[in-house]
């Protein structure tokens, strides 16, 4: 073991002997990225854009949000990461839509796209539309909405709850200040007193004991569960039409998880808005969601009502997910897991993304990417397994 070996790092099989990007390729990627990013950033920074440019019509007035062929890409140094690669689904008014999928499948980015909060400048919405029906009856196409107009929607009509309650609150401001801020920002004629009243009332309604005391505390004085309750309260303050909850319980202990879920269920009954619930936990979906959207590698591979998905999954991935859930009924000792890995998000193949992991792959699967096949007014799956659509297409078919 010479001195040279002493300092060399261990070689990893399968990584060190794969191909490296050449310098020319890297430079080409950089140049392309800069050009593209500059274009999009300039578009977004325009001021005084006339309304006609970003107003549009909803396809179905019963929906609050319609995602239509959304493409959100990240222009990184190693290539273009197609995080969201053609996503289409609806969020009806008053319903809870659960978006399910494993890490990296693009579910968070989808919701961030809706809020125009995708990490700029590398992340950009490059194609598609997100039609949002606002409280004033107008329908906005989010990717086209300029930044200054978007501010009026965020927090007021669309609000978001994030995954990490420990770091999502500003540590130097009191809870009360951070909550009042939302009211004072969005509500006309709000005074600090009114804001304080409403904040304390909201804290109470999310189950926080001694809300007037908590109002004066700093975030670091609260536990994780309490902070998440505060986040939920903040999200509800302006009676939003849509709440996005991005893995709200993942970072909490199991017992607290149950409490927060209970709270969210309560909230769902109380408000007349919609909820977009993003999670990888099927249990949460089963409890909360009305409709389910299953994402894989940036695309939707199955969508339907919660009953349809749980009782009659069509896509092999969904089937695999259902089987992977540990259940007391299984007689086997082994846990089922779907073999293989998610494909590289930079150079996606042309065929079905799930091919290398699918138990039920057929020859036709090596061909084109499967189109969405309709099984019921609400149930769609992108798989060749079940042949042609057995359901007659009608006007209300989505995709």
């Amino acid at each position: 073991m010479g001195l040279k070996n002493f300092f060399e790092r261990k070689k990893i099989e399968g990584v060190d002997n794969t191909m490296y990007l050449t310098l020319r390729e890297e430079r080409r990627i950089s140049k392309e990225n800069n050009r593209i990013i500059k274009y999009y950033e300039r578009q977004k920074a325009r001021k005084n854009v006339p309304e006609e440019e970003y107003l549009t019509q909803m396809r179905d007035p019963n929906n609050v949000v319609e995602f239509d062929n959304l493409h959100t890409y990240f222009f990184t140094d190693v290539g273009t990461v197609k995080s969201v690669n053609g996503v289409t689904f609806d969020v009806p008014i008053g319903k809870t839509v659960g978006i399910v999928g494993e890490s990296g499948c693009g579910k968070s980015v989808t919701s961030l796209s809706l809020m125009q909060l995708v990490q700029a400048p590398t992340g950009q919405i490059v194609e598609g539309s997100i039609r949002y029906q606002a409280g004033d009856g107008k329908c906005y196409d989010i990717p086209k909405v300029p930044k200054d107009r978007m501010l009026k929607l965020r927090g007021k009509e669309i609000s978001m709850i994030f995954q990490e309650p420990m770091t999502s609150l500003n540590p130097v401001f009191r809870i009360g200040e951070q909550m009042d801020e939302v009211i004072l920002l969005h509500e006309e004629g709000a005074t600090p007193e009114i804001a304080k009243e409403r904040s304390i009332a909201m804290l109470k309604s999310v189950g926080i004991p001694m809300p007037d005391k908590i109002y004066t505390k700093y975030p670091h004085e609260l536990s994780g569960g309490m902070r998440q309750r505060v986040m939920i309260a903040m999200a509800l303050l302006c009676n939003p039409r849509l709440i996005i909850a991005d893995e709200p319980t993942t970072a909490l202990d199991v017992t607290i998880q149950a409490q927060i879920l209970e709270l969210l269920r309560e909230v769902k009954e109380r408000i007349n808005g919609s909820i977009m619930l993003i999670t990888h936990d099927l249990g949460v979906i089963a409890e909360m969601a009305d409709l389910v959207v299953v994402m894989y590698a940036g695309r939707i591979i199955e969508k339907g009502t919660v009953r349809e998905i749980f009782h009659d999954p069509k896509h092999p991935y969904t089937i695999g997910l259902m089987r992977s859930k540990p259940s007391g009924k299984l007689k086997d000792n082994r846990l089922y897991s779907i073999k293989g890995q998610v494909p590289n998000p930079i150079n996606m193949p042309d065929h079905c993304y799930f091919l290398n992991r699918c138990d039920m792959a057929m020859d036709i699967c090596h061909g084109e990417y499967p189109k969405m096949i309709q099984y019921s007014p609400t149930h769609f799956a992108a798989c060749y397994l079940c042949g042609e659509s057995s359901f007659p297409k009608n006007d209300l078919a989505k995709e």
Binding site: L117, R154, G155, T167, N170, V172, E181, V182, Y218
Partner: protein, 332 residues
């Protein structure tokens, strides 16, 4: 909290004792007959007696060179230092503490004005650079900051003197006052303006050299804050970028900023040795440099002890400020 303060004070004391030992070792650099040569003139004129000279030698460990003797000398020096007597300066023929008290105020004034200007320039530039990362503004400002640390103070001073004092004849070359002008004893405004005019260039030099550091510091901290989760929450609430930057982000950056900046305040009393000398401004730095180059050991030791105290004081203040500005630090 009281316990915490006491603990920190105790620690500071230990550090200062250690520093004093190191500084006292400077006296061992003196050659054997140094005190004799330095005090020869005073001895002859009758200002000092042989006893005084002997006492001095004892004080600085030159009388008894054994280890025990040096220890004794150190402790007697330390004792007098703790009671406020920092020794008697050979060069200035005055107690060191008197020299300090006479000259630190001018240095402090120059340093303080620069300090304010640095903050006024550095912080806004730092914020703007962090918000527009990788832009042309960011690059220019970063380069400017780095040039500030790369320029030797004497070089910048000489350049400014060449351009503004000699070629353009706007500012005077050296000194605090204009020697050729005689002012009426009561013409305070005129005297003040004359002095201020002389101080413009030195203050400019100090400001230019240090503003860059504050700007870079602000920028780095702002960048870190802007990437946090709570900023994303603030944006999700619908706050404008301006509110996000100046209200949410900056308030968090203020924590390291205030602690660092307040820690710099004691240091403002220390004087800028090189700059004051080049411009011949009679501040404590100027006096100290002269004393150093001419081997005025008592003054050097006293002055360095003074600076060490300032440094430790700065660290203490900086720590204490944490408790004031950061709500996460418990005050229990």
């Amino acid at each position: 909290m009281l316990k915490y303060i006491l603990k920190r004070l105790g620690l500071a004391f230990i550090i200062l004792i250690g520093a004093s030992i190191l500084i006292y070792m400077l006296s061992m650099l003196m050659p054997a007959d140094f005190i004799d040569t330095q005090t020869a003139a005073a001895l002859q004129s009758g200002a000092m007696t042989m006893d005084d000279v002997m006492r001095l030698k004892e004080l600085y460990g030159l009388a008894d060179k054994s280890f025990g003797g040096i220890m004794k000398s150190y402790f007697s020096w330390l004792k007098s230092a703790l009671s406020g007597d920092l020794g008697f300066s050979f060069l200035y023929q005055k107690p060191v503490t008197k020299v300090l008290s006479e000259y630190i105020w001018l240095s402090f004034m120059i340093a303080f004005i620069s300090y304010i200007l640095e903050i006024a320039i550095g912080i806004p530039m730092g914020i703007k650079a962090s918000v527009n990362q990788y832009s042309a503004y960011d690059y220019t400002v970063s380069v400017f900051a780095m040039m500030g640390t790369a320029l030797p103070s004497f070089f910048l001073s000489a350049l400014l003197l060449n351009v503004f004092a000699i070629k353009l004849r706007i500012f005077p070359l050296q000194g605090l006052t204009t020697a050729t002008k005689i002012f009426d004893k009561n013409a305070y405004i005129q005297i003040f303006l004359d002095k201020a005019w002389h101080l413009v260039l030195p203050i400019t030099v100090l400001t230019l050299l240090n503003a860059g550091y504050i700007m870079k510091f602000t920028r780095t901290n702002m960048l870190e804050v802007l990437n946090s989760d709570y900023i994303r929450t603030a944006r999700a609430k619908g706050l404008s970028e301006k509110a996000v930057t100046y209200k949410h982000a900056f308030r968090n950056t203020m924590i390291p900023l205030v602690t660092t900046l307040s820690g710099m305040i004691p240091g403002l009393f220390g004087g800028a040795m090189i700059t004051e000398t080049v411009f011949a401004i009679p501040g404590i730095g100027y006096m100290a440099l002269r004393a150093t180059l001419q081997g005025d050991i008592p003054f050097i030791m006293g002055y360095n002890m003074f600076l060490a105290v300032l440094t430790v004081l700065g660290m203490l203040i900086s720590d204490l400020m944490y408790m004031v500005v950061d709500p996460r630090v418990k005050l229990s």
